[in-house]
Symmetry: C2
Subunit: 192 residues, 2 copies
């Protein structure tokens, strides 16, 4: 009974707007006022549905983590039997799409992590699992190679991927993107 709740939709709208702002201005550079404008809702509603500033940041980080984990599990299920790491690199180093700001958001959240200890811990665990996914794919491709060595190569590939994407805001020529992917593949090839 009572009026039906639109909390789920509104929360999505708000966090979408927040995410767009974060990709452009960073976490600290995004005011609640701006999120309200970007989402087309009153600032009071952000407060009503999510809460104050700290709770907004935490909600964004939680959703971001859950979503990217979802991507990874999906991709994992679609991975071929052989050359898994090659497929992962192909997938993650596809040409830069301006509307996908996943890595920018990740970088922004990580950069502000020291101000939000709870978020910091969650992101640290998230990053650890992320490297773990790559390491698992590599280990499946090279079952005879030492696990630590696979993990080290996975970390290198993830690093190259992150950096490649965050430098996107500098407007670098496309040869950077190609060379990044190539470097990641080269790193993986050292295990064969």
């Amino acid at each position: 009974m009572g009026r039906p709740s639109v909390k789920a939709e509104r929360t999505e709208e708000i966090l979408n707007a927040f995410e767009r702002c974060v990709a452009r201005y960073g976490v600290e550079g995004t005011s609640l006022e701006r999120i309200a404008e970007e989402s087309g809702l009153r600032r009071s509603l952000l407060r009503y549905y999510i809460g104050n500033r700290d709770e907004m940041v935490e909600a964004l980080a939680d959703r971001f983590i859950a979503r990217t984990e979802g991507y990874f599990r999906e991709l994992e299920a679609e991975l071929p039997e052989e050359n898994r790491i090659g497929a992962m690199i192909d997938h993650w180093f596809t040409p830069y799409e301006p509307e996908d700001s996943t890595t920018l958001v990740a970088e922004a959240l990580i950069a502000s992590a020291e101000r939000y200890p709870v978020v910091q811990g969650k992101l640290r665990d998230w990053y650890d699992r992320l490297v773990g996914y790559f390491a698992a794919a590599i280990s499946a491709d090279y079952p005879d190679v030492d696990k630590d060595r696979c993990w080290m190569v996975a970390l290198g590939i993830v690093s190259i991927f992150f950096n490649h994407d965050s430098m996107g805001s500098l407007g670098l020529p496309s040869r950077y993107g190609k060379a990044s992917a190539e470097a990641a593949r080269l790193l993986a090839s050292t295990l064969g």
Copy 2:
């Protein structure tokens, strides 16, 4: 004639304070008020010596670029005859020093680059030269290897270095730092 100028010193103090703030709160998250507090000077003095917000950011970027370029030229002069890239990796992947926030500042400036077109261009050129320094060292070590391939490996190493440092704010265990350096060396070793 007239009172002797302390512009050089004051400018340094102000930019030092700005840099400390940027490493902690990002460019957009740092107010002039906070810089004033951090530097122990009145906000009016920031305005007097450097200017408004945009000019402060540009001054910080200019100094940052000049300083890191200086580091690179210095290091270049001290490089050994052989295994230059190994020496560079050893130098740049030394254990994380909390007081050195060079990479954090770089990431923060890059993240906010889209808001400051002039700074964006300067940082793009800076990043390009940075990769160039690594590529030159690699080419010197492996004169028979194709220049493009050397450049690609250099980009990979720089990416790993940047990422390794910016993830420092997550408080990752030390094995991450070691593995990053190892991955960079592994990448370089593919050319031999």
